[in-house]
Amino acid sequence: MTGSGLAAMLLRRLLLGLLTLLLVSLVVFAATQLLPGDVATAILGRTATPARIAALRAALHLNHAPLAQYGLWILGLLHGDLGNSLVTGKPILSDIAGRLYNSSLLVIITAVISLPIAVIAGLAAAVRHDRATDIALSTVALALSALPEFVIGIALIIVSSLAAPHVLPMVSLVQPGHSPLQTPRVLVLPLLTLTLVVFPYVFRMMRGSMIDVLESDYIEMARLKGVSPHRLLIVHALPSALPPTIQAIALTLAYLAGGIVVVEYVFGYAGIGEGIVSAVGTRDLPEIQDFTLILAAVYVCLNIIADVCTVLLTPKLRTRRA
C-alpha cells in the first residue's frame, strides 16, 4: 500500500467529480432553457407592457444566445458570484447560505442520530438472524421503507397534534437570519421523519452484508480457531461488512440532501429543498440552476468520501499482488 496510490486515486476521483459537475451544469442549463413560459412575463405579470418586459429581459441577459448565458453563469460561479435572484433581485448567495445552513443542520443531526442506530440494529439483527429480534426489526424496517416520507411526516403531524397538542409545532418556520437551533422544538418532527425514512435502508444493508459475512468461510474459520465472540464480531466481521453499508450511507445522505425537498416542504422548513420548490414555482432560473448544482456537488463529494472509506477498509483494493 502506498500513500501516493491513494492520493492519486483521490486526485483522479476529484477531477472526475469536477467533470461530472460540468456535465450536470450543462444538463441543468439546457433543462431550464426548455422550461415553458417567459421569465420576464412570469415576473412582471401578463399586464406588463412589452417595453417593460423588453427592459427586464435585457437586464437579465435573456437576449443573449443560450451559450453566452451559460458562459456568463459559469464565469460567475467561478468568481463566487451565484448571480441575483430574478424574483427578489438580491444576490442568491445570501439566500442560499442560510438555506444551506438550515438543511445541513437537518441532515447532519439526522445522520448522527439515525446512522448509528441503523448500523447497530443491523448488526444485532444479523447476529440474531431469523430469531425474534431480527424478525421484529426487519418487519419494522420493511414497513417504514414502504411508506413515502410525506406520509410519515403527515402521520407524525397528526399523531403529535392529537396526542400532545401545542407541544410540537406542526410547521417548522424559521425566521430568516435565525438559526433553527434557537428554537429546537421546530426541528423535532422533521428530524423524526427523516430518521424514520433513513433507518430502513441503512439497517437492511448492514443486516444483509453482515449476514453474508457471518456465513463466510473465514468467519467459520475464526470460530473454529476459538476466537472470542467479541473479537469475532468487531475485528473479523465488522470491517468486511462495512463497505457495502458505507455505500448505502453515502447514497442515503445524498438522498437526504436532495430528498429533504418533500420533508422540508411538508414542514415549511426554510432549507435547500423548500428553496428549490419555491424557485421552480416562480421560474427563478438562476436559483434553480445554483441549487441543483449545489445538490450535485454534495452527491459527488459524498460518493468520493464513501469510495475512499471503502478502499481504506478493503486491503485487496489498495494493495497489488506482490
Binding site: Y218, M221, A222, K225, T314, T319, R320, R321
Partner: protein, 608 residues
Amino acid sequence: MTMSDVNSTVQAHAGIVVEDLQVVTAQGAAPIVRGISFAVTPGSILGLVGESGSGKTTAGLALLAHARPGLKIAAGRVSIGGVSMLNLSARELRTMRGREITYVPQDPATALHPGLRLRTQLAECLRNPADATDERLHRLLEDVGLPDPARILSAFPHELSGGQQQRIAIAMAFAPQPQAILMDEPTTALDVTTQTRVLHLVRAMAQQHRTAIVYVSHDLAVVAALADQVAVMYAGEIVEAGTAAQVLERRLHPYTGALLRAVPDPDQALVLKGLSGHAPDPAHRPPGCAFAARCDLAEDACRLAPPADLVAEPGHVVRCRRMGQTAISRPQAMAQPILSQPQAAPLLTLSGLGAWHGRQVLHDIAIDIAGGRCTAVVGESGSGKTTLARCIAGLHAHWTGDIRLNGAPLRPSAGQRSREQLRRIQYVFQNPYASLNPRQTIGQSLLVAGRHLRGSKAISRSEILAALASVGLPHRAADAFPGQLSGGQRQRAAIARGLICQPDLLVCDEITSALDVSIQATIVELLLRLQQQRGLSMLFVAHNIGLVRSIAQDIIVLQAGRIVESGPTQVVLSAPKAKETARLMQDAPRFAAGLQVAPARHIAPMVV
C-alpha cells in the same frame, strides 16, 4: 465430568476418539452422518475418504463440535485428548477449538480473512497471542517451508499464491501445538509438486508434534500416500475401515473396490471404470444397504436390512453382508492403449507460438497435433497449459506466431475467425458450475451453440436429444436448468454443447478437476467412446498424470511456457527424457509407494 474423570480418561484416550456420531438436518432430522466411530492416536493420520455428499466433511467438522448451518449434531461422543467435545459450554469449547484441535480448511483463499494481515491471523492461532514475537511467527512459517517470513507476515492473503496460502493454513493449524487437527482436502487446489511438498510436511509435523490428524479427502491416491488408517464413507456411513494397507490393498467393500477402479495410475494405462447412478438422498435412504442400488454384487437380502459391521481381520471392519463371499474386481490395465493411426496431415500445426499475460508465458511453441487422437498437455500450475489451450481456441488473443487448422492460419482471437473455424474447435471449461448459463435450459444452451455456429440451419430437437444421449444424459436433461444437475451431469452437458457443433477438435481444459474421482472416470469413459465412435480429436489439458495416461495417446509436457518433451504418452511417461517429465512422474501420488517419510506407525485399533 469431574476433573478426576478427565485425568483418568486422558491417558486412555489421547488423540481423537469418535463414537456413534450422528449428524442430522436441523429441520427434517434426516441423518447426514450416522453411526460413525473411529479413533486416531497421537502422531498418526486417518484418511476419511468419500465422494461429494458422503458426509465426510460433516463428520470431520463434528470433531470441533461444529455443524454447518442447517445441520446439528444429534448424538454420539467426540473426545479430543480425553475431553468430551459435545457437551462443553460455549466458553469451554472456545478453549478447545484453536488450542487442542485445529482445522485446515479446504480452500484457504476463502477461509483466510481477506482484510487482516497474516501476522494478525497467525498470532490469533497461538495459545497465548501475547507470545506472538517475530521470532516465534517466523519459525512457524519456516516450519512449513515459506521463504521470506517477514514479507509474508505483513501481507494480506490475496498477495500470496494458492500454495503459499495453503501452507499458511497448515502453519496456523500447527501453531498452538494441538493434540488433533482436522484437514479438509487441503491439497485439492495444488499442483502435484506443491501437493507432494505439503503432504511431506503434514506427515513430518504430525510425527514431530505427536498430533492426531484426520485428513478428509476424495483423492484416494493422496490418502494412500499419507494415511496410516483409512475410513471409506458412503451415504453418511463408514463402510470400510482399517489400516491404509488393509483397506486399499484388500478393498473388501464393493464401494471401495468401485472407487479404486476409478483411480488412475501414473505408472500404467488403466481402464477407468466410473460408478453409475448416485448416492441416495439423505431423506430417502433405503431400508437396506445404501449402496445396494449401485452395487454389482447386491442380492435381495442386501436391500432388506442394513448390513452389520464384519471384522475381516483385527482392525479391518467392513459394513457389507456379502464380505468375503464375492471377489471385488481389480482395475485392469488397458489391453492395448488405443492407438488410432495419425492421419497423414496434422489437424493443427503450431509454430513459433509465443503468448503474453503481461509477461511472456509461452515461448516458441512448435508442435503438430494429429487428427483423431487425444493429445494431453501437462505441466505444473503456471506452466502455460491453459494459456496454450486458450490461444488455440481464440479465447486468449495476445499471441504471436502461427496456428494452422488443416493448413489454414487462424487469427488470434475468436472474434476474428470465421464461423466455420469456430465450429471446428470447441472448448469445454474446467468448472461446469460456471460454464453453463444458469438461466437457460441445457436444451437452449445446445440450441444456441449449434444454431450460431452451424449457420442458420435449424437444429431439431431430436438432434439435441441425440447429442445429450451421446454423453449419457437422459432426454429430460434438455429441459433442466444447470442448477438441477449434478457436477458430473453439468460437465456432460458442456461436452454435449461442444459436440452439437460437430467439432473436429474438442479442447478440454482440466474438465475433471472439479469432479469426484468416480465421476471423472465416467467422463474419461465417455471421451474415449466418443473418440472411437466419431474420430474426434481432443486436446486434453490436465495436471493429473495418471488420468492423462489413461486417456491420451500423445502428450506434451510444458515447463515455464516451453515444451520440454512430447511424443506418444506411454513412451514419454515410461521413459521420461526431460527432467520435468521425470519430476512430474515422481511427484504424482500413487498407491504403490507411500510417502517415504516414515513407516506407518501408531495404528490404533478401530473402535467399532
